[in-house]
Amino acid sequence: MLRLFSCLLFIMSLDCSSQIRNILPDGMSVAGVSVADEQYNTSFSNPATIGYSKRLALQFQYQNHYIIHELSTRSFSFVVPNKYLNTGLSFSYFGFSKYNELMIGLGTSRNFNNKFSIGLQANYLFIYSLATQSYHRKFIPQMGLSLHLSPSILLGFQTFNPSQFALKTDQTSIRIPSIFSIGLSCRLDEHFVWKMQLDKEMSTGYKLATGFAYSLSGWLQLQAGAYTNDYLVPCLGIAYQNNAMTIGLNTEIHPLLGLCPQLSVSYLFGKNHVK
């Protein structure tokens, strides 16, 4: 009961125009710096990253906010590589029985000789609201670009809901966040990658995030980072990886609200499918 009350309080503390919280699940990278990422498929963070997949990929992610089960996000994605166009199907679910958001994304991306990648994703958003006791639906476009400035520097850009669509119901208007992200990834040497990202939701503030990943050995990677919104939130992570599987555990430590752990599992099937 207390948890339910906390959830309701958390949701009602949002903007009176029924602003949705950041609707996009974070990617596998620490501090959510995933827009310039060619290692992991993070289609909700940047559809252009689908283009880097050379093998059939399956990814599952569980993200929990402040150790409250009802505030968790579960996401799942599947990428099929192809010689001409990679395709990805992604799902994201947030909420609980009284209020939940489900987003399904069908994305496509093409990698141009590892020089750049362009991706487009069509997302379909379902929102169930206690107030209306029904589902509301909206189509939301998303586009992304990923550009190699050099073999070790990657620039990423994405925009979600660029036309600022809103969900109108009989009783209210639900504003869907319109998010613009730009990020940079630098591979300083074969063991060390540093990333930076700036997110801007049109009507609210900025989020500046930075993080690095250090490979201790071929199978263990340490990640650390931080992002700033209203508070400075440090983040830590660790990942196990082999040829096919990657298991990552990240956590954010919000100074006021507590821990936000995230578990990610990624599996790559077979050998390279794309020549």
Partner: protein, 683 residues
């Protein structure tokens, strides 16, 4: 080894080293139009003065059609390449004088002061011709057979309905479509003609004052048809000296090209822009002698003005005739202009005298305010100016001094550029314009639109200390001895700029520009007996990254500023944009897509940002508030003679506003969508 052989060896070595760079760039996918847009963007990036893009575009496009033969050219010809500094022009001429004609384009790298960026900009506009002027016989039927004829039609519309078109009795008399028809004729550099007709959105096609299109302009230019003279009939623009007497071309001021501060005296040239005010109409004649050039021009035309019986309150330059009050100002007064210029060119110097007599059929009497006390009043004004230019080894000096007889006003501008080493260029400019010097057609370096009531000193430098790096900076300090609009006391200002350009790789370039500007403004909007001023300052930053990948160009821009709002809590402005341009060489179409988000809560934090547009249109919209914008420009070449452009754009505001714009331009809601279409036919 003889000097000539040494010269060829150096050229050969440089060719081996840099053969890829120039060759790749001549095969570059950037069209001439893109070059011109990029150059214009640099010019307008740091100035809020309105510059006529049509005139700028036509000048450079003419150079692209008839490239300058750098082996047999003059200072006046090279001045049309506005991105070249005076020092660079002098160095090119000196190189040809000392070493003979250029053998090939790679030799340009041997000219002092020219780097790869400058050379790439020059390439579409120059050619390597013979070192002597070749005279070819021209027959009358050549004028028909070998001429270039171009016809373009353009139309624009805002999708959302504006307030000016609403209601039973709408404010605007016409429909919401903008239309423009343009025809140009070119036969080499000998015969040029142009005709342009324009109708702004909201203007009617037919009423008492408008017959068909609202604005018409036409000219014909005959060059070297009658001996070595040039004759222009119709509409034309004039620019002599440093623009203190007359400069209707209006290209002067601070810009991203910190070295380009002297006005380009281009003489008399044809006019085909859609700006309905900044031109003369009549006849212009240029007589070229061995060492001298004499120009005469006469003009008489009707102007828009707000009049009361026999008094002109103000001259209107917007060109809009949509509402009844705007229609009442159309063609209300007649302006007549008579002028002459004599220029003598010596080996290393030039001297010029310009006189101008400007008269109206009614007296100008602005509504009396303290700040406009020295504005031009009366029916006529007579002004004379002396200009000079000289080269002393590595030092170039230039300047002009003008005197307005009707008020006794004086204006003088003097400057110099110095290049002590190949990697450093310095420039300094001094200006002094008295408040009583107020000449309508003058336009020169300064903060104000008309050079008046200003004194200041400008210093700039450009350095290339390392390969791939270029640094540019300027400092401008100025004072206004009299009042200005919005400033009720003598005031001062300072402007600083620092720009670093880095060519990371052959296909990746970036620059970072920092600017700090401070000036004084009224503390309150209410006029006071003892006005109080406060220092308004603004710090701006711009970072641009350009990446070329085969036929694709990616441009990422971050633009920001911070400034206190009348001494209160500092406000900020931020803009991010991402642009993708795909211009394939083997396909008949091109795409330019741009997405941008902006966040500038207060109008003082507004940001100007260049946006790709269709042919003949240069777009630098201003953004304030919060929101995003998308634009898509498509070009399709149906065949070698027919091309089409389509631009679709939309701005969406996310700061809870329910109306965009005001008055007749107001749109309900938070979205504004525009569509533009243009078709060009090479007849």
């Amino acid at each position: 080894m003889s000097n000539k052989n040494k010269h060829y060896c150096i050229v050969f070595v440089f060719s081996l080293l840099y053969v890829g760079q120039i060759h790749a760039q001549t095969n570059s996918q950037q069209s001439v139009d893109q070059f011109i847009s990029d150059i214009f963007e640099q010019f307008t990036a740091e100035t809020e003065k309105s510059i006529d893009y049509d005139a700028f575009y036509e000048d450079l496009k003419e150079c692209a059609r008839n490239p300058v033969n750098i082996n047999h050219t003059t200072r006046e010809e090279l001045k049309h390449l506005v991105f070249l500094t005076d020092i660079q022009i002098e160095n090119i001429l000196e190189y040809v004088y000392e070493n003979g004609a250029f053998v090939n384009l790679y030799e340009l790298q041997l000219v002092r002061g020219l780097d790869m960026t400058d050379i790439r900009r020059m390439l579409p506009f120059i050619k390597l011709g013979e070192g002597v002027d070749q005279k070819n016989q021209v027959y009358w039927h050549d004028l028909y057979r070998y001429a270039e004829n171009e016809l373009t039609f353009r139309t624009d519309k805002t999708i959302e309905k504006k307030a000016g078109y609403s209601g039973a009795d709408p404010l605007y008399s016409g429909d919401s479509w903008y239309e423009q028809l343009r025809y140009s004729y070119r036969f080499r550099n000998m015969v040029q003609a142009g005709f342009t007709a324009e109708k702004d959105a909201g203007e009617a096609y037919w009423n008492k004052k408008i017959k068909g299109f609202d604005f018409y302009t036409a000219y014909i230019r005959l060059n070297k048809i009658f001996k070595n003279n040039t004759l222009i009939l119709g509409d034309y623009k004039v620019s002599f000296g440093q623009g203190l007497v007359i400069n209707t071309a209006g290209m002067s001021g601070k810009s991203g090209f910190v070295q380009n501060i002297s006005s380009r005296s281009t003489g008399i040239s044809g006019y085909s822009s859609t700006n309905e005010a900044s031109f003369l109409r009549g006849l212009g004649l240029t007589v070229n002698g061995k060492n001298h050039v004499i120009s005469l021009f006469i003009s008489t035309k009707m102007c828009d003005a707000d009049t009361t019986d026999t008094i002109i309150r103000s001259i209107s330059s917007t060109g809009y005739h949509r509402t009844q009050s705007e229609l009442m100002t159309k063609n209300n007064v007649r302006e007549s202009v008579f002028g002459a210029n004599v220029m003598y060119t010596g080996l290393n110097y030039q001297l010029g005298i310009t006189t101008l007599f400007d008269c109206f059929n009614k007296a100008i009497e602005p509504i009396g305010k303290t700040y406009n006390y020295y504005y031009f009043k009366g029916k006529n004004q007579f002004v004379t100016g002396i200009s000079y230019r000289a080269r002393l080894n590595k030092l170039n000096v230039f300047g002009e001094t003008a005197f307005l007889t009707t008020t006794g006003g004086l204006a003088t501008i003097n400057g110099g550029s110095f290049s002590p080493a190949s990697y450093i260029n310095l420039v300094v400019l001094q200006r002094y314009y008295t408040a009583s010097y107020h000449v309508i057609h003058a336009s020169s370096f300064g903060e104000n639109t008309i050079p008046s009531n200003e004194s200041g000193i400008y210093m700039g430098a450009e350095l290339r200390p390392f390969a791939k790096w270029k640094f540019a900076c300027y400092l401008d300090s100025y004072r206004f001895a009299w009042l200005k609009f919005g400033v009720d006391a003598p005031s001062w200002g300072r402007d600083y700029l620092l720009q670093a350009d880095y060519n990371f790789k052959r296909n990746v370039s970036m620059y970072l520009r920092l600017r700090y500007k401070e000036n004084e403004k009224n503390k309150t909007l209410v006029s006071q007996t003892m006005p109080e001023l406060y220092t308004d300052n603004k710090f701006s930053l711009r970072y641009q990254l350009t990446t070329n990948v085969n036929d694709l160009v990616f441009k990422s821009v971050v633009d920001g500023n911070i400034c206190p709002n009348n001494g209160q809590h500092p406000g900020y402005g931020l803009l991010f944009s991402e642009e993708i341009a795909y211009h394939p060489t083997n396909l008949p179409w091109q795409i330019d897509f741009r997405y941008m988000m902006f966040d500038a809560a207060d109008y003082s934090n507004r940001i100007y940002s260049y946006e790709k547009d269709i042919l003949h249109v240069f777009s630098i919209p201003v953004y304030s508030g919060k929101g995003s914008r998308m634009s898509l420009v498509l070009r399709y070449d149906v065949n070698k003679r027919l091309s089409m452009w389509l631009k679709v754009s939309q701005t969406v505001y996310s700061d809870s506003r329910t109306q965009i714009g005001s008055g007749g331009e107001a749109i309900q809601g938070n979205r504004k969508s525009d569509i533009r279409y243009e078709i060009k036919w090479d007849l």
